[in-house]
Symmetry: D2
Subunit: 141 residues, 4 copies
């Protein structure tokens, strides 16, 4: 297991709500950004993967919101690989605020599907498995 | 010209921002809802239209924001046909708050494109032209 | 335990993504709508509650996505009370598509906080507890 | 007039719609990001400005959409000052795609308001006027 991937995101005005903090739904976008950049850094473009007919829709999400994050705050999204199976992969997330405190944590499971045949389940592409295997948390692979 | 179409929408929590009112970008969604329901009432499903390969992407938008709208407020979106050309149609909008006051107004021009051939411009489908013609503002058709 | 609350929502164009179905983050907005309407039907306005200084931010969300939902599809959001504690309440959700099939399910825990004092935890207002108690799933209250 | 400010933004998955390109409402968020970073580079934090009780809500937007932008595409948002009055400022925008082609253009007028007294109009703060004056397009100041 290697050191986790970090992605920085600045909170947009339109992502806050009238409570004065980020609306909780937006964390799913930040996490999506996190895994996209993580895969990109490993050399895999998710956009390219979809063009080959392979999609990774979200099947399950578990989220905890620990404190509010403010407009324009720079958040750090840490992405790890929490687990991998034949036809799915689960990413783990910790999002920290400008003060280093945890703002939100999560686990997102993506199913691998065939975009050409009505999103039928299919095994993860071998290339993706090879790239992610070294990152799977110890005892999980 | 007939009496305009009205669509009611309740402001969602996540549509407000930290100023305590609807974030301006959301009015484009409300207006999109307005024209979808308008077309539906005329007997035309935009979802169905796209399945025939014809799309109506937004090409131009002119928006004015007159006062803030609050969380949970019921807004009334009035949609009219401001103009129609061979390959585009322009909808006009007035959005009023619970007190009847104008919250936002707009004009949205949609281009007609062929979804199968890289969104190349094409004439509006005859069926759409027939349905909208009676609604075009006087002196505009 | 009474029969659950149902709220109908039509999928907006801007809520779909390039996979041709609703982007998963939007289900959090649909669920938020569901509990707002549920409370409203019980006679409690969440907007009003916030004006008294009491907020209910989301603390935890567990979501499962079972099939994609399409543009313009009418979804039925069923909201139940999955549990209630001194300072938090958990809503349960089943979202069904136009065909009656389950599209997504979830559980959302809201913490009760004092909006005036930096969102410090506080007990649920007595009025809210009284309204929700009859709806708590058997054996959970 | 100086050379314009550039801000780079990557298109998120959830910002695309089923037409396979960025949903038009999202350009308003990109433009908001553009002016926030522009002001920041000039030494003014919009978040800080709001804490002093001065807000800049959008009063008017004029947008043109020239071609679609794809998922994960890096867009360049160029922000200029199109005009300034006693109680409002107008920003101009050109958004270009990865190929340098124009994707969207716009003009956004912000009104200056007093957040403490129901968003009543007020003059732009002197500090903001001083910072923006050198950037106002020739013949516009």
């Amino acid at each position: 297991m290697k050191s986790p991937h970090e992605h920085r995101v600045r909170v947009r005005y339109g992502e806050t709500d009238q409570m004065g903090v980020v609306h909780h739904a937006n964390y799913l976008h930040y996490m999506e950004d996190g895994r996209t950049r993580f895969l990109e850094e490993l050399g895999l473009s998710y956009a390219e993967l979809e063009r080959t007919g392979c999609g990774l829709p979200v099947r399950r999400a578990q989220l905890r919101f620990l404190r509010g994050a403010g407009y324009d705050e720079e958040l750090v999204v840490t992405t790890t690989v929490a687990g991998m199976r034949a036809a799915s992969v689960t990413f783990g997330y910790v999002i920290r605020g400008a003060d280093g405190e945890r703002v939100a944590t999560g686990e997102i499971e993506l199913a691998c599907v065939d975009l050409a045949s009505e999103r039928k389940p299919r095994p993860l592409p071998g290339e993706l498995v090879e790239l992610l295997r070294p990152w799977v948390a110890a005892g999980e692979a």
